[in-house]
């Protein structure tokens, strides 16, 4: 990767332009001057060549799944198939206005309908909405469904939600946006939700519990049956955070475990590209008794086989996005499901779990493995066994290991999460990586461990080969420069 230090504004020269527009032949119309801006907006004045070279140069300072192995825990960075991009870009999909009459968008509505069915069979839920735009947006939508259910029964006291201490940060944040009070339940020494700690939290004020299963340590919450019985017993509902659904593909369905509401990340489990942080898509699935609470608009199939859009519904939790979510992302995910089919979807979870356990067992001689039991799609090390502090220099931290990995051409794992361990290094390889790729990564991780033991300074100063060294983040926060002047 080569360092490139321009901003598009710095290429600007008055008089240059990269656009062409046709003359539409209509007479000029005027708008009162008092409603117009007094100064033109400052935007770059560049040619198309400038734009092409600038953004190509920027892309070359970026690392994607196509660049190399991306074992970022809880992010499921699997390969993004190219055919899905072509399909999403078809003019007959991209050119559709969201408010067109149903008769003119039957192909698009069929995608919604079939995707709802496909996700339902894969997860064991009854019905999905595809309207949420991301995972956290799905969490919020799912919690709205839970609250709507309780409200519809006049059960207004249920304003608390139980969230495990190992949960993704979005869980408590989504609950807060949904107006719920968060009650944290502790994990036991085995990394799982402690059933005895859960029991005293339950009562008539509990709306439900948010569970991630497998959890953020990659561990299957094996007491889920008892947890489901306890929470249901107190009148609460079970929410499934589908961020970690990948290892369950083909093996376990959330609906069968007693979950009432769930979201799934199409940009994780169903291979749509993450786009540097979005667009994602976070469909929400529910069990039968909650189907009426899913948000509007919804796609329904009519008795004559045609599809229609129901724009509002009396019982619906509300409307959560502009139209019906990120259609372009949904199309890609549907293409992925069709390509793998019933046979391929069954294999994906097992392969993902195999890869994670393979790395876990291969590096436990050099990295602390706090929880040695079998994992699912991901697992967590708690830093180096020998951090090099015996050399008299400060020891190498998880941050140092992560930065050194960049020098060797890898994206780093997720670091310092979950919060249960101080030096957490969370690794998720996914099913699309070959044994050779995993072996090379294992070799490099061993090499980094040896470097740390011999001279931790090599790691402290890493990365050495990236476009920039470690930036001064404190200065960035203390004196915020947030736009080009």
């Amino acid at each position: 990767m080569k360092y490139y230090d321009k901003l598009i504004f710095e290429l600007s020269k008055p008089g240059r332009a990269a656009y062409t527009l046709p003359d539409n032949g209509c007479p000029k119309a005027n708008i009162p001057a008092g409603l117009m801006r007094t100064e033109p907006a400052v935007l770059p004045e560049v040619t198309e060549v400038d734009v092409a070279r600038h953004y190509t140069a920027l892309s070359q300072m970026n690392f994607g799944v196509d660049t190399g192995f991306y074992p970022l825990g809880s992010c499921t960075m699997k390969y993004n198939p190219k055919i899905n991009e072509e399909i999403a870009a078809m003019p007959a999909f991209q050119g559709l206005h969201p408010l067109q009459p149903a008769d003119t968008v039957q192909g698009a509505l069929e995608v919604y309908y079939e995707m709802d069915k496909a996700l339902s069979t894969i997860t064991g839920m009854k019905r999905f909405t595809l309207n949420p735009c991301a995972g956290a947006h799905g969490e919020l939508t799912g919690l709205m469904v839970i609250r709507s259910y309780h409200m519809s029964r006049g059960d207004l006291a249920r304003t608390k939600i139980i969230v495990p201490d190992s949960a993704h940060g979005t869980n408590p944040a989504s609950a807060a946006v949904c107006g719920l009070e968060i009650v944290e339940v502790k994990s036991g020494a085995n990394g799982l939700v402690d059933v005895e700690s859960l029991k005293p939290l339950l009562g008539p004020d509990i709306a439900g519990i948010m569970m991630t299963n497998p959890n953020t340590l990659g561990l299957f919450e094996k007491d889920i049956r008892e947890i489901a019985e306890l929470v249901h017993g107190c009148g609460g509902l079970l929410y499934y955070d589908g961020a970690n659904m990948n290892p369950l593909l083909g093996m376990v369905r959330p609906g069968d475990m007693g979950f009432d509401v769930m979201h799934i990340n199409l940009h994780k489990t169903f291979s749509t590209p993450h786009g540097g942080g979005g667009p994602g898509s976070g469909p929400v699935g529910v069990c039968e008794k909650l189907a009426g609470f899913l948000p509007a608009p919804r796609v329904e199939k009519l008795p004559d086989g045609r599809f229609t859009v129901v724009r509002s519904a009396e019982t619906a939790a509300g409307q959560v996005s502009a139209f019906m979510g990120n259609f372009g992302v949904i199309v890609r995910a549907y293409a992925y499901i069709l390509m793998l089919g019933r046979q391929g979807i069954k294999l994906a979870g097992k392969y993902a779990t195999l890869a994670a356990n393979y790395i876990k067992e291969s590096l436990k001689d050099a990295y602390k493995l706090p929880i040695p039991s079998v994992c699912k799609h991901e697992f967590v090390y708690d830093g180096l066994i020998d951090d090099g502090s015996a050399t008299g220099k400060p020891g190498a931290t998880t941050l140092d290991v992560a930065k050194r990995l960049l020098d060797y051409g890898y994206h780093a794992p997720t670091i310092y999460f979950p919060l249960l361990f101080h030096q957490a290094l969370m690794i998720e390889p996914t099913e699309t990586e070959s044994k050779e790729t995993l072996d090379e990564f294992i070799d490099v991780m061993h090499k980094i461990a040896r470097e740390a033991a011999e001279d931790p300074d090599i790691l402290h100063c890493a990365p050495h080969l990236a476009p920039i060294g470690r930036p001064d983040e404190t200065a960035a926060a203390r004196n915020p420069i947030l736009k080009f002047d």
Partner: protein
């Protein structure tokens, strides 16, 4: 026998990997799962397909979506997309990257977000922009929550009845669960009423107001006096804007707004049946630490090289959990790149032309439609840009059916029974004439 192009595992690989792990089968890796939770059935899905079969299937689906000439806006606008924008977006270094957590190998993403933030600030006139939201309506809902956070201990947010219906719906949904009281500001002659705003402020408890810059009837609002009325009551003004039109119109900063939100789709993003789009959100520096979502800032590395990082993260869910300013994590980063490249291509002059040509086309259609005798004005003296409504003097449902059959999407019926139209720079005079001719004959 199917092949799976995304699964690299040979039988020998699997055997060796299981051996290293110390188990005899992949099923053993699920020994911790209670046996009756193991899914033994088959999925109700079709058999796996070849790439060609998948392509054919989607082409058949696409064939069920007839191509229409779009003359409707209402939150999704058919502006022209320069070829270079999707071309650069398809670069896998942008497309297949995650959130820029490892900044040293994410300078591409971080730089374009910084450019995006700068452009949003320049369009709105405000000081700080975040890295993007999901879409316009959710950004407006976040503005509602931000208003409550800015004006401590007040819990009512006023929303103009002139906002697009889906914007109001999403705000109300968020408010219902978050516990914010929503009151609606009346319209007067098609514009948000300052008197109504003042009357609602007088009732007390007002944290802020959300008003459109161009409203659901396409009318350009005159917000004179709005900011003063709100600021005097210790409340904030949030303006919901079409960012394409902001290149021409008085900015939120010039109207005295504290927060600006809106949907970036009008900046050349394909309509794509409503998504993905991108929400934008900007504010005055005073409220910077209340802003939801990611923010990129400029700094330097140890050698002095200019560098960009995610900053002010103490606002965010991964640090603050339930005390975060929002639950947003994934945003619409790639669409923020779309908008950034689009605005670089168009530049200040191109954006002026987009607005001039859209305005010219819309006014031409407006006048031609009146000549047909099938419509009359609803708000005759109110200024509009690319979008407007008319009162139909004929059966709108029958007209809509004829327009669709003729290949037009136009005259969208509104809740009030008006017909909504929109003309972008993409529509030629010939296309407008063809639409008018079809309406005449209908």
């Amino acid at each position: 026998m199917s092949t799976f192009p995304y699964f690299p595992h040979t039988e020998e690989d699997i055997r060796q990997m299981l051996e290293r792990i110390g188990v005899s089968s992949m099923e053993d890796l699920y020994a911790d799962v209670p046996a009756d939770f193991i899914f033994k059935g088959g999925y109700d899905l079709p058999d796996s397909k070849s790439e060609q079969e998948v392509r054919d299937l989607f082409e058949a689906l696409a064939a069920k979506n007839p191509k229409l000439k779009v003359f409707v806006g209402q939150g999704s606008y058919d502006h022209y997309t320069p070829a270079i924008v999707p071309n650069l977006l398809s670069r896998s270094e942008f497309l297949t990257a995650y959130t820029p957590y490892q900044c040293e190998i994410s300078q591409g993403t971080l730089r374009y977000i910084f450019e995006y933030q700068s452009m949003i600030c320049n369009l709105t006139g405000l000081d700080v922009s975040n890295a993007s939201m999901y879409d316009g309506p959710t950004a407006a809902a976040e503005a509602m929550r931000m208003a409550v956070a800015c004006a401590k201990k007040k819990n009512t947010v006023l929303v103009s009845k002139g906002l697009l219906p889906n914007v109001i719906e999403v705000i109300k949904t968020y408010a219902k669960y978050y516990g914010t009281v929503i009151e609606e500001i009346d319209l007067d002659g098609g514009r948000t009423s300052l008197d109504s705003l003042k009357a609602l402020i007088a009732k007390g408890d007002v944290a802020g107001a959300i008003v459109p810059s161009i409203n659901r009837y396409g009318i350009i609002e005159d917000l004179t006096g709005f900011a003063d009325a709100l600021h005097e009551a210790g409340a904030v003004l949030a303006e919901y804007c079409d960012p394409s039109a902001l290149a021409a119109l008085k900015t939120p900063a010039e109207w005295g707004a504290d927060i600006a939100v809106g949907d970036g789709q009008s900046l050349g993003i394909p309509m794509s049946f409503g998504g993905p789009s991108v929400g934008f959100m900007a504010c005055l520096k005073d409220y910077m630490r209340k802003l939801p979502g990611r923010i990129v800032g400029q700094t330097a590395d140890a050698s002095g090289k200019r560098a960009f990082v995610l900053t002010l993260q103490a606002r965010e869910q991964h640090i603050r959990r339930e005390k975060a300013t929002s639950n947003i994590c994934s945003n619409e980063s790639l669409m923020a790149l779309f908008v950034t490249i689009y605005l670089s291509v168009m530049g200040p002059k191109g954006m002026c032309e987009v607005n001039e040509k859209s305005t010219a086309g819309a006014h031409y259609l407006f006048n031609e439609l009146l000549k047909t005798g099938k419509f009359e004005p609803v708000f005759p003296d109110k200024p509009f840009l690319k979008e407007f409504v008319l009162r139909p003097l004929v059966d709108l449902k029958a007209l809509n059916a004829k327009l669709t059959a003729a290949g037009f999407f136009a005259a969208l019926p509104t809740e009030e029974g008006y017909a909504s139209f929109c003309v972008t720079e993409k529509r030629s005079k010939e296309e407008i004439d063809a639409l008018v001719a079809t309406i005449k004959e209908a």
